[in-house]
Amino acid sequence: MNCQICLEKINEYLDNELDSKVTNEINLHLENCSSCKTEYEFLKQIIEKANELNVEPPKELKQNVLEKINAKEKTKKIFYFRRIATSLATTAAVLVLIILANNSINVNKLSSQMNTDLVKENETKAEIVIPPENAVSKGSETNSETSKTASANIYTANAMDNSLFQAQDSAKAYEYKYFATFNGNSINNIETIKELIYIGKNDNIYEYKTTLSIKEIEEKLKVFDILLDNSQESLLINSSNYGNIKINIS
């Protein structure tokens, strides 16, 4: 091997990338050639010293990366939960719309059923409440007609209100029917109406007497969807705020 070939191969020799035959030839040449040996030693030093240039990485490197990863994952989780929440909200909204649509279709059916229930209930209460002796019978026909129209309004409203309470038991929905109707009309505090005189409680019915006309009672109580009992001499109001109220018109 001559110097030219040796110097051409010296890099691969330094990197241990030559086969054993060429490696041995170079070994032999370097032993006998001081010039190539110097070149070899110099390059070897460069390589060795270059390897010593490696330094330890700063401690914060790993720490910073892990912190960023954690922050990323947190954001990802929040984003994920938001997505779930959004899709749940959308599903809930769709379900409510479906339920509302179903109920609107069934409003008439529901109204007639509730109408029957209410009439039955009034009949029962009429039996319990004893009409006052001085009950006025005149004008009851007109009042009866007003109440018919008014009661129709209640049922429609109640049917719509009931739709919001599909998930609840029927007793709750029934109670809500009255609460929603009167609460929705902002019933006035019955105690503040001095013309309404409290008589007493009879079978869970709070009984009042008054000299006011039906129209005046309606205006003072701000309740326009009230019913007359079968005798047309007293008003029956059912409210979750006040319970069952009977007002005898004297």
Partner: protein, 195 residues
């Protein structure tokens, strides 16, 4: 736990396993970045970016190549991206050579203020470090992968998507340039000038 097991776990989102992988490779990653960009602040930022890229990409690692090759490819690309963006905003000193490949001029920052004699006292290591900063990127990259990261010709070829022959020739040129820098700037090596 073996590296392969760690990789499997990290692919499944195990952050402890990922942390272990970082421990194994952080020295080589940081030093490659440091030698490539030349300052510790940028090297730290780039190293972090390399690991974050790895974190996002590890799920897609199909194990068709060695994991180290995969990671070093991310590393080389990341450093390359950094240099490209830096080149747009500032000028990096460039190593010059004549047509025959000899060093004709070195764009050394403080050359005028630091006469050649000052380099006499400098150690070979310091000179090598300076030389790495002044040779151009293609040669620098291969020199670092070979002598800082201790990779084989084959691994370097795979990482940089080049032929093994190209790796050999560029590595040879890189060493020659570094040698030339040392001879020119370190008087202790003046006896090589006659060669």
């Amino acid at each position: 736990m073996s590296e392969q097991q760690l990789i499997k776990k990290a692919k499944n989102g195990d952050n402890d396993a990922f942390s272990e992988i970082m421990s194994i490779y952080q020295k080589r990653i940081y030093n490659y970045a440091l030698k490539t960009v030349g300052n510790s602040d940028d090297a730290l930022d780039i190293s972090q970016e390399i690991f974050l890229r790895l974190y996002s990409a590890i799920k897609n690692f199909r194990e068709q190549s060695a994991f180290s090759t995969y990671l070093f490819r991310i590393m080389a690309n990341c450093c390359n991206d950094f240099l490209k963006s830096k080149r747009k905003t500032s000028t990096i000193p460039i190593y010059n050579e004549d047509e025959e490949g000899n060093i004709t001029e070195l764009n050394i920052k403080d050359e005028k203020n630091n006469p050649e004699t000052e380099y006499q006292s400098k150690e070979l290591k310091t000179l090598i470090n300076e030389a790495i900063n002044y040779i151009d990127e293609d040669f620098k990259r291969i020199f670092i992968l070979k002598h800082i990261n201790n990779l084989s010709y084959e691994e370097i070829a795979e990482i940089l998507h080049i032929e093994i022959g190209t790796v050999k020739s560029r590595l040879y040129r890189a060493r020659e340039k570094i040698k030339g820098y040392i001879i020119k700037n370190g008087n202790n090596y003046s006896y090589f000038k006659s060669k």
